[in-house]
Symmetry: C2
Subunit: 470 residues, 2 copies
């Protein structure tokens, strides 16, 4: 399924690429880092997602003759366009596994390559990783609130257009059990599921006939929507009637769905009615503008809900609709580069780097260190706060992991392809290695991310040099 | 460019479709209405967008043998799948023109068809119209704040994944002058534009060389990014040097771009520096987390900005990331249907309907009336508030327009294809027909949308009948 081409980029990437080409710099080697500055939703961490999709899209990131004609009409020059005809991204990518727990500031992903390929890829890379990491993080918050209850992703109709295609994938990575989105289920082999709509019930002369017909057709996993007319006076009693009829035919009603009204009150009443009718196994599905806070509150109120259907607030990450990931140049031909800013937090980290995760003896994450790639992790005893150099942490003797490794080289993916289920399991494992204080919704503990002394020194030197040169 | 198939739908649409098929109801005729309940962003109105894209996607909304195999594995039955093999949407669509000004409650778009095609289309239709209408509405607010200054849409890297593809289109419909998104520019023939990134400047040994090289390559519409090191001490002075060199070669620097810091202060200082250097024609482009409120404030502060580049806040509609459009069944085999709710505002409007726009003598919109399709508009003298029947408006003698017409029938689009420029012009015309009180950002005047007495009566009768039947 090819939708994108090398045109999936910002106009200025092509202008700059042409510039590098014309300036005879096409073989310059560069390093770009992908990182973000702030966890979304006030979370204490972020889930890394989108990497395997990026690998697939890199394959499509080429220019066919129609693309070339278009660029010619838009003023790009023949010699550059001839070069683009054979363009393929052949750089290297260093990254964590999909599903990894990641934090602000750290160079999560690095691209090494020639200056044109690394520049042209920027927009596609940011577009892919920012959105999927955002949604996986949101889904993980829902998963946290729902505990052992199920979460269905429902949001395709309210998704931001084709965002739905990758959004449902990211939701399952983050912890949703299934999606209503059949297109994504097809592409990514996700569990797809659904119940029924009000239109089904309305389209019959009466609610009981609507329920009965649906149950006859889909006796397995049948869920009946009980709020089209009146939930407790009509919907639940009719569902109970049909559940009893199903029992006589050897089937079992899977559940009922509440989609409006006071979900705490209605679910408790419905649970009592179902239990009294001898139907304790019939589940209650609830939906209607749910998010992680409402789910928490419903559970706290003792709502009898087994499955939460979450739509808009998950697929659009409505309360914080973008991850602010950026892609910054950190080296040209092995010369480190820096971007200054009047805002100290926005000064970039120069040079090629790697990220080390330090663990406590019990397997819990303790801190992440950003080191220069030539730093030997065994020689790094201390990491320093990115802005306040007097804040530092001893890391010697701690267990260490390389957070990133080379995952893509010369057009080839170097890691085994994982199913979405496997990625979600890895996410679950890694989240479990994070202490609870980092996971609370309100003022989570801030996870330590520090720099090696060599990186601190390089940055200080480059800032000083830049001031001298004025 | 085919990305979607008939699988671009919610799982339950396929379950229900199979249900209708198995129940022998595949030839039942139905009517569904698309409407929304709340303008986004607290706006006084919404811009209708996405219709031509929907027409294109309907062509792709089919099931090939891979799709059928997939559905078979997911438990759908052979006879239904045989039916799906030849499935095409052949229903009729009634809608306003793209770019129309629309309001909550009104049946903006109606689908008439057999029960299976009308049901299956729901998710695709909502996904397409909700997002594009949201973004066009946001862009129109930016356009309103920017006045005669330019607005560039910049958000591809922060867009919700492939939302970018249609988001940039909708942004231009709503009033953006251009987009950075080359993929959308290619598909929809939009103006694409861009400046340069910090990485360009960083990749050279010094800023002046970076600027000079770019200017030599792109002497037309050259914009230099001046904040990589120090805006006023280095960026602007270097840009001025290059502008002078360009003049000697018969070229003119188009502009400079500010992307950080205090945009009001920096733009004023930069303007003075440029003017003193005899470069009054060099424009100032500004970007960095802009939205309609910041743009208004910058202009109010006397900022010297000619072009606003808007990213995340436009393409994700960050402060209100979803339009709540729904698609509700209003008739089955010419029998009107209703969905009740404990929330009176959520009771649907039964039956087939049409929307009439009433105008004052001076061409300004006065009110919209929702009439039953059998109502003769010439006989409707009064329209009634949807909830408070004592609130009513005289409409006799007013100029009238049919807001909607049949635009799609039997697989064919009935209207001439419009360019995005034409759609944007229509949007601009229609917004100009709306009085200023509806356009302010704070507590806009609420536009009148009323029902005909026959529609009020039908709804009352159906509610009463539903109560009797219990």
């Amino acid at each position: 399924m090819k939708t994108i081409s090398g045109l999936f980029t910002d106009h200025y990437q092509l202008s700059m690429a042409e510039g590098y080409f014309s300036a005879g710099r096409k073989d310059d080697r560069v390093n770009f880092d992908y990182f973000f500055r702030k966890n979304p939703f006030g979370s204490g961490f972020t889930i890394f997602a989108g990497l395997q999709v990026l690998f697939n899209l890199i394959e499509d990131f080429q220019y066919d003759s129609d693309d070339i004609d278009f660029l010619y009409k838009r003023g790009f020059h023949d010699d550059f366009l001839d070069f683009l005809k054979n363009f393929r991204f052949r750089g290297s990518i260093y990254a964590p596994k999909e599903g990894e727990v990641i934090f602000p500031t750290e160079s999560i992903l690095s691209v090494e390559g020639n200056i044109i390929e690394a520049q042209l890829l920027e927009t596609l890379l940011l577009n892919t990783l920012n959105y999927q990491s955002l949604i996986a993080t949101k889904a993980n918050r829902l998963r946290q609130s729902a505990g052992k209850r199920s979460v269905m992703e429902f949001g395709m109709r309210r998704a931001q257009g084709w965002a739905a295609i990758h959004g449902s994938r990211a939701a399952v990575i983050g912890g949703a059990d299934s999606t209503s989105n059949v297109q994504s289920a097809y592409i990514y082999d996700l569990d797809s599921s659904g119940t029924q709509a009000h239109s089904w019930v309305q389209s019959f002369d009466d609610e009981l006939t609507a329920f009965r017909t649906f149950a006859q057709l889909r006796p397995k996993k049948c869920v009946l929507l009980v709020d089209t007319y009146h939930t407790l006076n009509s919907g639940v009693p009719n569902a109970i009637k049909v559940a009893k009829e199903m029992q006589q035919q050897g089937h079992q009603l899977f559940g009922i769905r509440l989609d409006s009204g006071d979900l705490a009150y209605l679910s408790k009443k419905a649970r009592i009615m179902l239990d009294k009718a001898g139907l304790p196994e019939v589940k209650i599905v609830a939906s209607n503008q749910l998010d992680e806070y409402l789910i928490k509150s419903l559970i706290h109120q003792g709502a009898k809900i087994d499955v939460f259907g979450v739509g808009t607030n998950l697929i659009t990450a409505r309360d914080d609709g973008a991850l602010d990931g950026v892609y910054k140049l950190s080296a040209v031909n092995d010369r480190p580069t820096i971007k200054l800013s009047e805002d100290v937090a926005k000064v970039t980290l120069p040079g090629k780097k790697k990220v080390i995760r330090y663990l406590n003896g019990n397997g819990e994450f303790y801190a992440d260190g950003i080191l220069l790639s030539e730093d030997d992790p065994d020689d790094v005893d201390m990491i320093y706060h990115p802005q306040y150099a007097d804040k530092k942490s001893m890391v010697n003797g701690l267990e260490k992991e390389n957070l990133t490794s080379k995952v893509f080289e010369n057009g080839n993916v170097l890691t085994a392809k994982k199913s979405i289920g496997e990625i979600s399991e890895y996410r679950s494992l890694r989240v479990s290695q994070l202490a609870d204080e980092y996971k609370r919704f309100e003022y989570p503990h801030i996870y330590k991310v520090g720099l090696s002394s060599n990186l601190i020194q390089l940055r200080m030197d480059m800032i000083a040099e830049s001031k001298r040169s004025k």
